[in-house]
């Protein structure tokens, strides 16, 4: 439960699958199978979530108030449950990505990976 002590940082680091889930939700509301497909596309088929695992993660993120149920986007099936990123979830995601960025910068400076062109 997000109490007074529940800062975004207290949720870090996120589990890899949860980081993926939260990131995918930034593109818009999704239902469970949509999330699976997004992650499948993004990871080039490497991470294939099955229903049980997926909904256990969703339950955890939902209880931590990082994501919440949402209305279906237009033209989509209204009977399905869709999820959206909560403002708090967005903060946690941002904090996690900042943490990862500093890690990536460190790796770049040590020539473990080449710096991204930007």
């Amino acid at each position: 439960m997000p109490g007074s002590h529940d800062t975004p940082e207290s949720h870090l680091p996120l589990r890899p699958v949860e980081l993926l889930l939260l990131t995918m939700l930034t593109a818009g509301n999704r239902h469970g199978y949509g999330l699976r497909q997004d992650i499948l596309d993004h990871t080039g088929g490497k991470i294939e979530l099955e229903a049980g695992t997926l909904y256990r993660h969703i339950r955890r993120l939902e209880e931590a108030k990082l994501l919440a149920q949402a209305t279906a986007p237009d033209d989509e099936d209204e009977r399905r449950i869709y999820y959206r990123l909560t403002p708090f979830g967005q903060k946690v995601l941002a904090a996690e990505l900042v943490r990862l960025r500093s890690l990536v910068r460190l790796a770049e400076s040590r020539r473990i990976i080449s710096p991204a062109r930007s």
């Binding site: 207290s10 949720h11 680091p13 239902h31 699976r36 099955e50 229903a51 049980g52 695992t53 931590a64």
Partner: protein, 887 residues
């Protein structure tokens, strides 16, 4: 739209705790639907693994083993924990080989039996017929006494049945086929035009019949369509088969098509399909019911609609054709889905078997759960200490569940081996009357079923011990001390044993009732002695036997040479074999009066026999005389009737001296009845014997239309009749190499075919019941043995205080019997409920048969006594001083 497996997945969702299911179940089902649509059946292994791991994890969570995972940094994920314990579990299982072996064997038997029976059920009951849109195929026939359909009736149905898009007719047809090897008898079908189109099956090679090949108009060379099996086995899979001619009953025919192996209609043995030429116009043919019909429903139409319309039609016929349909014999059509017709007799047997193996698996689960509980009990103390020393409390539960999963999957793997072997045994035992057996195999569906059953089994036997483990708290485990087991655990174990005893009782009673039914049927008096009789079908090719005299002489020659064989008592020949054959039902006239219409004429089944028939089968004459060698072709014709015919047509009179004649056929003479033969169960046990008239084979051409060219030779022997089979075949082959001999078997085997399905089910059920009894015995043994091991101290004390061995032994055995008695009571109540389900399969025995139920109770009590006596004796072998020191 539903997707395949949706129901199964929906059912499997019930494995999750209710809170999780009600929150995400519907969404997970929707997830599965999309997953299945995109990925096909191969998604299942992943889906199942996910299911097992996450259901286990969720149950653990509900059991408050894990703290609410609000802070992920502090707790590892369940999956990681499971992986971590995996190695530990394997090590533990390897270290206790006896425990592991017993559990795996139990599971392999339970799961294997299920997989084997499921593959039969799947192949026979669940697989759709191998035709496009099989749901639209229907079977049309009449209720008794008509059964099959005549040509004019077929024509009426074809014209007037609107719910049907197409309707075709076929009829069984056996023939001698000459190919590369010596002639053989093969089954075939004569089929009307459109037959292959209605079923929607394309030939493997070549083509099927063109419409003009169906008409009586002379085609230069007759044509034939053969099966893949015939093509392969008789013609060595000759790729040029389509340019070849084959001889069928001596007539050359050009092969125009080969049907694929999976096309097995009307049945798996069908080897050739010939055109059926219909003659719609004769009045006679409306009374000649011999066609079977299959139709394809229009899209959207139902079998019920077709049934309704067919009966609107048949209701008009008695008015339109009073000469055909008598007032006492309403003609009622039956249109049913083809699948239902194919399976009509097999379904209850297979469902019973499936329920039985389900019970076996439940009992196996109870046993394994018990073993795990006992093992967990030991580990509880070990963990109590470790927890007290600071280990995490969840560890034990995770370990327990991982162990269940590993055992279940390994047991399932072994179960597949058991199923593979079991299935081969099963198929060799299975009666030929079980339809669609060729469809039975260990395929993807069976693998999937086995996997699902294994996982379900793992949860079933794993959750109870896990639940038990989750209640473990360190202090109580330590306080309980090393020797005593906690009360809750013992209650659970005893409950499980009671449950398995109850299930075993239901199974044993079911098997017992079926055995009694079978025995009662086997003891039915069949009217003759079928022991030491060999039967063989002899097929004289009609072209070579163009006169009756040739056939009569040949059969006499065969009989004479067979009689000369050593070990032969007598030989006789008949037109058709009892039970498996039939000779039709003919309308006749009796005592000089001809009924004005055929509908009013009496009828009876004809059987053409040589004089040796009655003696060889041992059928006594109740009145008059049997046939003799003097009843030759040129002698005055005579006839013998059976009891059933005498009672039906001359009630209260002696039929000897009365006469009969083929109905409406001025060419045939009035034939005097010279004898009355005792009834034999010519249609098999459980069926009524039809009125039957016997004609001397030599005279049948004159008095009964024709002398059959296909006959059954019966040989009474002094020893094993089947040993004479080769010699008899050789004699026929020497006399005429062109006359194939088929269906060489004992008369007992022939009479037994009527009970084949029942015997198959009964034997299997008996085996499963024995397995259930064994497992229940092992379960009782396990609980008592563990209880005794906990009470070594007490037993030692009692003995030290002077209790005699008998009273201590009695104490322990009584406990085992008490445990069984509860299970027995529950099981008997269950039997009374389950008895309703198998009542339709019981003959001459009630579902509440006291003798069966009492025997079952006795057997179980004996097993329970034995199962508790063994550990009791072992405990008392320990000397009191040792036992007391150990405590």
């Amino acid at each position: 739209m539903r997707v395949p497996g949706e129901k199964l997945y929906g059912a499997l969702l019930h494995l999750y705790p209710k809170s999780f299911r009600s929150r995400y179940g519907a969404e997970m089902l929707a997830f599965y639907r999309e997953r299945r649509r995109a990925g096909g059946a191969k998604v299942w292994p992943r889906v199942l693994i996910d299911l097992f791991l996450t259901t286990a994890a969720e149950h653990l969570r509900t059991l408050r083993v894990f703290r609410a995972p609000a802070s992920s940094a502090s707790s590892a994920s369940t999956t990681e924990l499971t992986m971590q314990t995996f190695r530990h579990t394997l090590r533990g299982l390897v270290r206790t080989p006896a425990f592991t072996a017993v559990v795996l064997l139990t599971l392999a038997l339970g799961i294997g039996a299920n997989a084997a029976i499921f593959s039969v059920v799947n192949g026979v009951l669940l697989q759709p017929l191998p035709f496009p849109e099989p749901d639209r195929l229907v079977d049309l026939r009449f209720q008794e006494p008509y059964w099959s359909v005549s040509e004019p009736e077929f024509k009426d149905f074809r014209r007037d049945l609107r719910p049907l898009e197409q309707l075709v007719a076929y009829t069984d047809y056996d023939a001698n086929l000459e190919g590369d090897q010596e002639p053989v008898r093969i089954s075939g079908a004569r089929v009307s035009d459109g037959f292959f189109q209605v079923l929607g099956v394309e030939p493997l090679m070549g083509r099927t019949y063109a419409p003009d090949e169906q008409r009586p108009a002379q085609v230069p060379t007759p044509v034939i369509v053969i099966s893949e099996t015939v093509w392969r086995t008789r013609f060595g899979a000759d790729p040029n088969i389509l340019t070849r001619e084959v001889r069928l009953n001596g007539v050359p025919r050009r092969v125009i098509g080969v049907m694929p192996a999976e096309f097995t209609f009307p049945n798996a043995a069908t080897g050739v399909w010939l055109p059926l030429r219909l003659n719609y116009d004769s009045l006679w043919t409306r009374n000649n019911h011999y066609l079977l019909l299959v139709g394809r429903l229009r899209p959207g139409a139902t079998a019920e609609q077709a049934n309704l319309e067919a009966n609107l039609l048949t209701r008009r016929w008695p008015g339109d054709f009073p000469e055909t349909y008598g007032p006492g014999k309403p003609i009622i059509a039956e249109v049913k889905p083809l699948m239902e017709r194919v399976l009509a007799n097999s379904r209850p047997y297979l469902v019973t078997l499936l329920a039985a193996v389900g019970f076996v698996l439940l009992i196996a689960c109870a046993n394994v759960a018990n073993l795990l509980l006992i093992r967990g009990e030991a580990r509880r103390r070990e963990l109590g200490i470790r927890t007290a020393l600071g280990a995490t409390g969840s560890r034990l539960v995770v370990q327990q569940l991982t162990e269940s999963g590993v055992l279940a999957l390994a047991g399932g793997g072994l179960g597949l081996l058991v199923a593979w072997g079991g299935l081969r045994a099963l198929l060799s035992l299975a009666p030929a009357t079980l339809p669609r057996l060729e469809q039975v195999k260990l395929d993807g569906a069976v693998l999937l079923f086995t996997l699902a059953v294994s996982l379900g089994t793992g949860l079933l036997f794993g959750l109870l011990p896990a639940l038990r483990a989750s209640r473990g708290d360190a202090s109580s485990a330590l306080r309980d001390g090393a020797r005593s087991s906690s009360r809750g655990g013992s209650r659970m174990r005893r409950g499980l044993v009671m449950g398995e005893v109850a299930l075993a009782v239901v199974m044993l009673s079911g098997a017992g009732l079926l055995v009694r039914s079978l025995l009662s049927l086997q003891q039915t008096d069949i009217g003759f002695d079928d022991s030491r009789i060999l039967t063989a079908r002899i097929n004289l090719p009609p072209l070579n036997y163009d006169s009756d005299a040739k056939a009569i002489a040949r059969i006499a020659e065969i009989e004479e040479r067979v009689r000369a064989l050593p070990g032969v008592v007598s030989a006789g020949t008949m037109g058709w074999t009892p039970v498996v054959g039939e000779g039709g039902t003919w309308s006749i006239s009796i005592d000089g009066t001809e009924a004005p219409q055929i509908a009013g004429a009496p009828n009876a089944d004809p059987l053409q026999v040589t004089p040796g028939y009655f003696g060889t089968l041992g059928v006594p004459m109740l009145r008059g005389r049997a046939f003799t060698e003097q009843d030759r072709e040129d002698a005055p014709p005579v006839v013998i009737v059976n009891e059933a015919m005498a009672k039906a047509l001359w009630p209260g009179q002696d039929p000897v001296g009365h006469t009969l004649k083929m109905y409406g056929n001025p060419g045939t003479p009035w034939v005097p009845i010279v004898g009355v033969a005792r009834d034999i169960l010519s249609r098999g046990v459980g069926k009524t014997t039809p009125p039957t008239m016997f004609f001397p084979y030599a005279q049948a051409g004159k008095s009964a239309y024709f002398v059959p060219r296909q006959v059954t030779l019966a040989v009474k022997t002094t020893g094993n009749p089947e040993a004479l089979g080769p010699a008899v075949s050789r004699i026929v082959h020497q006399l005429d190499p062109g006359a194939p001999v088929s269906e060489v078997r004992s008369m007992e085997a022939v009479m037994g075919t009527a009970l084949a399905s029942r015997r198959f089910t009964t034997v299997l059920l008996g085996w499963f019941a024995a397995l259930a009894l064994l497992l229940a015995g092992v379960g009782i043994y396990g609980v008592i043995a563990y209880g005794v091991s906990q009470r070594t101290y007490e037993i030692g004390l009692r003995q030290a205080l002077g209790a005699d061995r008998g009273s201590v032994l009695g104490l322990i055995v009584t406990e085992g019997l008490r445990l069984t008695a509860m299970g027995l009571l529950i099981g008997l109540a269950g039997t009374l409920a389950a008895g309703q389900l198998i009542r339709s399969m019981l003959v001459n025995v009630k579902a509440t048969d006291p003798l069966t139920l009492a025997s079952v109770a006795l057997v179980l009590a004996a097993v329970a006594a034995l199962a508790s006596w063994i550990p009791a004796r072992r405990a008392m072998a320990v000397s009191p001083t040792e036992a007391l020191r150990g405590g």
